[in-house]
């Protein structure tokens, strides 16, 4: 049996790694963020609903970013990121509903809860490697889902309800900051965009820091990093906890905007879709998964009215894997490196495909 992560190491060349972190890449990202800042008011003036969609795309982009940090960089396939996302979301719902709508209190709390949940899950899961690690994170995330779904905290504390069980929590208000409310979708959009941009900048710095190098080393060759003298398990747990903090932030941004927190946030299908978004975007690039997540959320929303939208989305995934094996980011990077060769490389890919099928 060929170990899954052994193969992952074989295509070093194919990894799209640090390319976007170069100077031109950062400028391009800054331009992209400014473009998004301009896109909000324009979209809002055409159709207010578009702002709503943009906020959801950004929240999922942040979630995909958090997963890519631990999946693309540390090589830890997490199948339980919905746990941190949901934990952050429920934290925001409970705090806004019962304590304070102050964003400066609630959002850090969401991040903190995400970090704590991730540290716990990570600490319990790092003993296993590869797919077994993924399944352990899935197990703990599903356990948390059951806890929220059956409202176990209420049973233990003797309260009437804490998580709202099956129905979840409704009518959650929006954030406030220094007396300014974020009830207006456009204001909320700018808040979200600012935090997503800060998160991206922070994670890019972290990925390029000595810490980031070590966790990339863990991905490439865990044993070697251990021999050098690093405590691999600890690095993995820390990377997982950091990732969990950003996932918690994504939940904390998503829930007050939707004004609903339901157990569905923590369900494994969210984690599964997230892995798919990261792969579609191109793992290990940080920005690629964000594009992938935004695209999937956009398509799900726009195609929702079309009868067979699942068929279309499924076909897209299949085609991307066959013809753009490194995801959207990989396709864009090879297009940038060699714009004139694009047509040839598509031809080449088709030829290869036909040969492999016949073989």
């Amino acid at each position: 049996m060929m170990p899954v992560f052994e193969l992952l190491r074989d295509d070093d060349e194919a990894r799209t790694g640090n390319q976007i972190l170069s100077r031109p890449g950062r400028i391009l990202l800054a331009v992209g963020i400014l473009g998004l800042a301009a896109a909000g008011p324009i979209a809002g003036s055409i159709q207010p609903f578009w702002v709503n969609l943009l906020v959801r795309m950004l929240a999922f982009a942040l979630l995909a970013l958090s997963l890519d940090f631990v999946f693309g960089y540390a090589g830890l396939l997490s199948f339980g990121h919905a746990a941190m996302y949901g934990a952050g979301g429920y934290t925001a719902a409970l705090l806004v509903g019962q304590v304070t709508p102050n964003a400066l209190v609630v959002l850090p709390a969401s991040v903190l809860v995400g970090v704590v949940v991730a540290a716990l899950i990570g600490w319990l899961s790092v003993r296993a490697r590869g797919i077994y690690f993924a399944m352990l994170t899935l197990a703990f995330a599903q356990l948390l889902y059951v806890v929220v779904f059956t409202d176990l905290p209420a049973t233990i504390a003797g309260a009437e309800t804490v998580t709202g069980g099956d129905n979840g929590l409704y009518g959650i208000g929006s954030y406030e900051l220094a007396g300014v409310g974020f009830g207006d979708p456009l204001a909320y959009y700018f808040l979200t965009l600012a935090l997503v941009a800060l998160s991206l900048a922070g994670l890019i710095r972290l990925a390029n820091s000595p810490f980031g190098r070590v966790i990339q080393g863990v991905r490439e060759n865990e044993d070697r990093i251990e021999f050098i003298g690093y405590n691999v398990q600890r690095y993995k747990v820390i990377a997982f906890a950091i990732s969990g903090g950003f996932a918690g932030l994504a939940g904390g941004l998503y829930v007050p905007f939707q004004s609903v927190a339901n157990p569905g946030l923590l369900h494994w299908t969210v984690s599964g879709e997230l892995v798919v978004m990261v792969l579609l975007g191109g793992m290990g690039t940080l920005w690629g998964p964000m594009v992938g997540a935004g695209l999937v959320v956009f398509l799900e929303d726009r195609l929702g009215g079309v009868a067979s939208w699942e068929v279309i989305l499924g076909t897209l995934f299949v085609l991307v894997v066959i013809f753009a094996p490194r995801g959207i980011a990989g396709a864009l990077i090879s297009l940038r490196d060699d714009p004139s060769g694009a047509v040839d490389s598509v031809k080449e890919a088709l030829k290869n495909y036909v040969r492999e099928v016949r073989d």
């Binding site: 049996m1 060929m2 170990p3 899954v4 992560f5 193969l7 992952l8 074989d10 295509d11 194919a14 396939l77 319990l124 003993r127 296993a128 490697r129 590869g130 797919i131 077994y132 399944m135 352990l136 899935l138 197990a139 703990f140 599903q142 356990l143 889902y145 059951v146 059956t150 494994w268 299908t269 599964g272 892995v275 798919v276 792969l279 579609l280 793992m283 009868a307 067979s308 939208w309 699942e310 068929v311 279309i312 989305l313 499924g314 076909t315 897209l316 995934f317 299949v318 991307v320 894997v321 066959i322 094996p325 290869n352 495909y353 492999e356 099928v357 073989d359």
Partner: protein, 289 residues
């Protein structure tokens, strides 16, 4: 008291054997092809839908049980030849995206063709009613499912353990290049394994479709349970999958007696405990995958 325990045991073993049919394909496909097949649940659902159409059109459960899995096998051939085959040797993580794509594609197509409502497969007249087993009266159909799935699992085990094909399969899983060098067309073996897994999933779909309902959500519902089983048993291990399937079947059905809302807790809790004690599953290879 004794009656409900006997009933729960029978139900647990029966659902365990059905789960084993699904998990066996999943674990064989992983062990040999290194593919985490998210479309496996969709193939199971497809079996149930094909079965319900054939049973309704031709009026025969037996024909449905025979033809539907074969049709699922044809879909399996198409998936393997046109999408998996060109991708072997590439980063297997992308197979998750690929098979997830097929899963939602099939689910969407099913809703498109047959609508979102649940369908039924009529149980054959021969197998209706109950049989007295001393302590309990038990539905004949369920006993039939128990018997046929046990026979199938036994047959698969014999085939893997004793037949030439089984030896080639196990050898290919162990060292693909060596088997290829010995002049065996490994590509055909791969296709065979994938299709075989698809047929087993389709069979399980027809068998369960006639006792539960046939609906578009059934595939996504069962796939995660099947993954849990495969992982508890140890990825790629056939006997591990069968053992874990029986374990999960029994835990779920006893759990339903004690605390029905907490069966999911038992399912995932069990997996967490097993993996923390044995990080490669009960029958998994000692080297981490």
């Amino acid at each position: 008291m004794i009656e409900s325990i006997v009933r729960a045991t029978l139900l647990g073993v029966q659902s365990g054997m059905i789960l084993a049919l699904i998990a066996a394909g999943l674990t064989l496909i992983f062990g040999m092809l290194d593919v985490i097949n998210f479309a496996h649940g969709a193939l199971y659902m497809l079996g149930a839908y094909f079965g319900s159409v054939i049973a309704a059109e031709l009026g025969s459960f037996w024909l449905a049980l025979l033809i539907a899995p074969l049709l699922v096998g044809v879909v399996g051939i198409a998936i393997e030849v046109f999408s998996l085959r060109p991708l072997y040797g590439r980063n297997p993580l992308y197979h998750i995206l690929l098979t997830f794509g097929f899963a939602i594609m099939i689910q969407g197509a099913v809703v498109q063709i047959w609508g979102g409502q649940a369908r039924q497969i009529a149980q054959p007249a021969l197998l209706t009613g109950t049989l007295s087993l001393g302590v309990v009266d038990y539905p004949v159909y369920r006993l039939f499912v128990l018997a046929i799935s046990t026979a199938l699992i036994g047959g698969v085990w014999l085939a893997i353990d004793r037949s030439n094909l089984g030896i080639i399969m196990r050898a290919s899983a162990h060292d693909t290049e060596m088997v290829d060098a010995l002049g065996i067309d490994v590509s055909k073996v791969f296709t065979g394994v994938f299709v075989f897994g698809a047929v087993l999933a389709g069979l399980a779909g027809v068998l369960l479709g006639a006792s539960r309902s046939v609906n578009p959500g059934m595939g996504m519902g069962i796939i995660i349970e099947a993954f849990v089983i495969v992982v508890i048993g140890g990825l790629g291990s056939f006997r591990g999958a069968v053992f874990a399937a029986l374990l999960i079947g029994l835990v779920t059905s006893y759990g339903a007696l004690i605390a029905p809302t907490l069966t999911d807790l038992a399912l995932f809790g069990l997996m967490a405990i097993v993996l923390m004690v044995k990080p490669n599953g009960l029958f998994g290879a000692t080297e981490a995958a």
